[in-house]
Subunit: 188 residues, 2 copies
DNA sequence: CGCCGAGTTGAACTGAATCAAGAAACGTGG
DNA sequence: CCACGTTTCTTGATTCAGTTCAACTCGGCG
């Protein structure tokens, strides 16, 4: 749990009192691998912080699911637009490994808004975090080749990457499993 | 200015008093075409709402600029990450046509936070708006062909599209000007 | 009038898709 | 713990969208 405080304090100092209120709302959850935290069609009621584990976001499709996000611990997890708008999520959030998260419900977050000075900060952090990730992703998709994207992922998370099935990685990178298999062969 | 209120009230009802405070901080600005609202390297101090005009976001490059966003009126404009983090923007924001915007400075926004109930809403709106746009963009880049992306743009903004040089559109779609020229020829 | 940037068109090339088939890994039931 | 069936991964052949390099046209502007 300390790592959550550390994560927040990278950008904003928290008073002990605020941290007290904030952390009292967090509830720890543990899940096995291949567990859905949220299924497409459901309404998101949680903003979560991953302590340990790998998580995949995907849009279920008849033929091949579209995997568009991985979270490797120390980050927010939520179908954020669904959380904000109370509309059904268009995607599923699923664990790839055993996972530990700390959850905040929508009502908890409202309470934190009212009781602390850091509510805004948390909301802003979440938004900022998610927004920046998407921005970087956009640039990556526009300027990098599939191979570069794979190598980037590989550099960031060399050991964790082995835990993810190739077809999910391929989808995330934006190519077919066959193409990724060939890239792997070429660079190894 | 009424359209700004309408825009906000699509999702949240504002009290007259809050609107009063909010709108009093907005200052109207008009710019000619090809005017930079913010240059790469500068720190963003504004969150703006476009009333009229077309705006382009791009990362300046030696050879070809990378155009990654267009705003066609009725939307937020800001180098949002720079605005939040106070770090230099990595991109330039420039008008393509004559443009009218309503600006809010960072300090104005802080004041609104303190004086009204809608401060959070505004911040959240901006974040949500920007985040959702990026999410959709990600999906478009992952699942659509260049031709589909062009047709989508064309369907959304048929008349405005004529005002944008082909090379900017090509960059946004993620292909070369030559390729877009051929797509245009093929579908017309 | 001549220049220059933007757009068009052509030809050769390349990264990735598609279709197809075989090999490896994985989970489940006996 | 093995055997089987299913899913995942690999590899090959073909096709295609888009790149690159290059030449030419067009429209605006000094």
């Amino acid at each position: 749990m300390e790592q959550i405080r550390t994560y927040f304090e990278k950008t904003t100092k928290l008073s002990d009192k605020d941290w007290e209120i904030f952390s009292s709302k967090l509830s720890k959850k543990e899940f096995p691998k291949k567990h859905s935290l949220l299924k497409a069609g459901q309404i998101e009621n949680h903003l979560s912080f991953v302590e340990k584990g790998i998580i995949r976001f995907y849009i279920p499709k008849e033929e091949n699911d579209l995997t568009f996000t991985f979270i490797f611990g120390n980050g927010f997890v939520s179908s954020y637009d669904s959380f904000l708008t109370k509309k059904p999520s268009t995607y599923t959030i699923e664990t790839l490994t055993e996972t530990t998260i700390w959850q905040l419900t929508f009502d908890d977050l409202q309470a934190i808004y009212n009781e602390t000075e850091i509510g805004n900060t948390i909301g802003r952090h979440a938004a900022e975090d998610l927004f920046l990730k998407k921005s970087n992703r956009e640039l990556s998709l526009l300027t990098q080749t599939a191979e570069q994207r794979y190598l980037d992922l590989f550099t960031e998370q060399p050991h964790l990457l082995q835990l993810i099935p190739l077809k999910y990685l391929a989808s995330y990178i934006g190519i077919t499993p066959q193409a990724l298999s060939r890239i792997r062969k070429r660079i190894s």
